[in-house]
């Protein structure tokens, strides 16, 4: 779970950074507010981040700016999730429109998956991470968490079906998680290496 948590933080950070970058298309004031909220979020100044994103959400509603509204809701959900307020985060996620940019939609499924995982609903979590991957297939955090969710679900089912009371399988889970992480990382590295090697000849030819 510790790994999952790390992935969770990193992913939220990456998502928010992405939002900040893409949010620069709006007015300078909105971009500045988004940036301010983002910095508050990274320094874990939750009240300040919440205030900024709430103001953004209010301003977006007044201006009927759907995109800004979606960004603000997503950022608020991320802020609530960081404070372990799952239901509040879900409420914010549910307000994001279906026309939101793909990174936001992928993030919505991803965050919902995290919430389901935290609530130990592993099957649902796996489904949600899968949906996130369908939108953004290159999201490594979603991949990791999908595998973790599946693994946790299997462990629980095994414990339910044949496990004797008093026997803890938690000791093995950490090692399994480590194994999954390493495997996925290795595959990713290989994929990148292959891409690099594929690219090299063409670049030579260009020159």
């Amino acid at each position: 779970m510790a790994k999952g948590l790390r992935a969770f933080k990193l992913s939220l950070l990456a998502s928010l950074a992405l939002i900040v970058c893409s949010g620069c298309d709006g007015s300078p004031r909105d971009s500045l507010a988004l940036l301010s909220g983002f910095f508050s979020w990274t320094t874990q100044d939750w009240p300040s981040a919440t205030e900024t994103f709430l103001e953004m959400a209010g301003a977006a509603e007044d201006a009927q700016d759907v995109y800004l509204h979606d960004y603000a809701q997503y950022a608020l959900a991320a802020t609530y999730l960081s404070q372990d307020e799952y239901d509040s985060a879900l409420a914010r996620l549910s307000e994001i429109s279906e026309e939101a940019p793909s990174e936001i939609r992928a993030g919505v499924w991803y965050q919902a998956g995290l919430i389901a995982y935290r609530k130990e609903d592993y099957e649902r979590a796996a489904g949600l991470f899968r949906k996130s991957l369908e939108i953004r297939p290159d999201a490594i955090d979603a991949k990791i968490n999908l595998e973790l969710s599946r693994r946790s679900g299997i462990v629980r089912e095994t414990a339910k079906a044949g496990g004797m009371p008093g026997i803890s399988e938690s000791g093995d889970t950490g090692a399994d998680e480590e194994l999954i992480f390493n495997l996925i990382r290795r595959k990713e590295q290989e994929r990148w290496k292959n891409q690099e090697s594929d690219r090299d000849p063409s670049s030579v030819m260009d020159h």
Binding site: W46, T50, E55, G58
Partner: protein
């Protein structure tokens, strides 16, 4: 003479061989008994070993030698808290090493499933097994049912008389009508933890008496799934208003042997003002009460006879200062709010007037009385904001006067120095006022303090009506506030009334 011979029907006796034949006969009978028709026996087992509430367990009875067709099981006694589940009867082949001449024999396996609903020690049986004409009676099987461990939950909380077991009900008479100052109330301290109890500590609270009725013994174990009562106290609030229940601490050792502590969840109750003699009018207890305690009741505010409190509704008497409001519109308005049971609005009106007025003594007196009646004695004071600008201007004026005295009337250095010191003092006073009034302050009307700006989030604290909060941030209908106890949280902006002229949005 009769000839000796053999009588018909009698055994032929062959001298020394007679004993050997007897032995053979006995052995033959034993062999037959052991191999052909051994006695009915049974093995009983419980799966799993540790039986927990809400989880099914199996009792298996293996009867041998027997054929399922002519074997039956009767359980003569079964606890009422065992809900029956699946049952089965199967044929099994069992190996019995002691059986002479036969390694495997037919057996009948009975499986009975139950789900216990309550913890405790129970007995199942006696069990009666019948196979053919044989009957085997087994003594009752003892089963200990425990609650499943739930180490994630650990809490310590008070429950009042009539409350639900989780302490959240508040349906008791005390919770409905509020207590009466000077009257004893039975409080139960409940805990949910996994481990064994080490000690319970509950120091005497402020503004109340606490007597220990019973405390749980060290070693009392809990599995965490359901709360257990760890102590019982008699609490006598000595002051009226919203009173906080005592702060208790429970020390316990977890299953792993790690010592841990739990603090009681904060909880406040409304205490109505009672007669000071009520506590002492309870028979023998009055004689044993130390005289020193009587002084505690002398300071208790007395309800004015002109406007008695309404029994059973938790209403408070109108403070005397509000009662004699006269023509003052602020006091009249505050009184109207008070009578409409809008205590927060009443206090906010008084505070706003005190904040804006140059000489707000009458409003301050009324406010202090009202806050005392609500048990809010420690509420922060109102900054004398009306003096902010005059003190700045006064300071500047005095400084100019001092300088002009020095420049234009060189012989008046003494008075000039005095004016300068006065100017500095006024400047310091104005700085103090500006600092005091740097953030908007508000009076809570109702509601909870939330962890994040969402009504479904965790409640940090339930603030009593009339308490004061400092508003640190506000956005989109929510405000981030700080309570008197330095707790931070979010409140909807209709949950409080800002009484200062800060830059708050409401």
């Amino acid at each position: 003479m009769e000839k000796p011979g053999i009588r018909p029907g009698s055994l032929v006796r062959h001298g020394p061989l007679t004993g050997v034949a007897r032995l053979c006969l006995v052995l033959a009978v034993l062999f037959f008994a052991l191999t052909v028709c051994p006695a009915l026996e049974a093995d009983v087992s419980i799966v799993p070993d540790e039986v927990e509430t809400g989880r099914p367990f199996l009792m298996r009875i293996l009867a041998y030698p027997s054929e399922p067709a002519d074997t039956s099981l009767e359980i003569e006694g079964l606890p009422g808290t065992f809900e029956p589940g699946a049952s089965s009867k199967e044929k099994r082949m069992t190996e019995q090493s002691w059986a002479v001449g036969s390694e495997r024999m037919a057996a009948t396996l009975f499986s009975r499933e139950w789900t216990p609903t309550e913890p405790g020690d129970f007995s199942i049986g006696p069990l009666v097994l019948r196979s053919g004409e044989e009957e085997l009676r087994l003594p009752p099987v003892q089963v200990r049912v425990v609650r499943p461990p739930d180490e994630g939950v650990a809490r310590l909380f008070w429950s009042l008389s009539g409350n639900g077991p989780d302490g959240s009900g508040g349906t008791g008479e005390f919770a409905k009508t509020g207590g009466v100052s000077g009257t004893r109330v039975r409080l139960s301290l409940n805990a949910q933890f996994s481990g064994s109890l080490i000690a319970v500590r509950c120091p005497a609270p402020e503004g109340g008496l606490l007597e220990t009725v019973a405390t749980g013994k060290a070693g009392l174990s809990s599995r965490g799934a359901e709360a257990v009562q760890v102590a019982v106290y008699d609490w006598t609030p000595l002051e009226s208003g919203s009173r906080r229940l005592p702060d208790a601490v429970l020390e316990y050792a977890t299953i792993d042997g790690v010592e841990s502590r739990l603090s009681s969840e904060p909880r406040s109750v409304i205490v109505r003002e009672g007669k000071k003699t009520e506590y002492f009018a309870e028979g023998a207890r009055a004689k044993t009460t130390p005289k020193a305690l009587a002084a505690a009741f002398d300071d208790a505010p007395q309800a004015p006879s002109s406007s008695p409190s309404v029994a059973g509704t938790g209403a408070f008497a109108v403070p005397p200062s509000l009662d004699g409001a006269g023509e003052d519109t602020v006091l009249l308005e505050a009184k109207r709010y008070w009578l409409e049971e809008k205590r927060g609005s009443s206090l906010a009106r008084l505070r706003a007037a005190e904040y804006a007025d140059y000489f707000p003594m009458r409003y301050r007196a009324a406010r202090l009385e009202a806050e005392k009646a609500l048990g809010l004695d420690d509420a922060p004071s109102v900054p004398a904001a009306a003096w902010k600008h005059p003190s700045v201007f006064g300071s500047i004026f005095l400084l100019v006067a001092a300088l002009s005295t020095v420049f234009f009337r060189r012989g008046y250095r003494g008075p000039a120095a005095g004016l300068f010191l006065l100017s500095v003092a006024l400047a310091a006073f104005s700085v103090y006022l500006y600092v005091e009034d740097s953030r908007p302050a508000a009076v809570v009307v109702s509601g909870d303090l939330f962890h994040v700006p969402d009504a479904s989030s965790r409640v940090v604290e339930t603030l009593p009506e009339g308490s004061v909060v400092g508003v640190h941030r506000s956005a989109d209908g929510w405000a981030y506030v700080r309570t008197e106890r330095s707790l931070f949280g979010w409140m909807k902006d209709n949950q409080f009334i800002i009484y200062t002229r800060g830059d708050a949005k409401r």
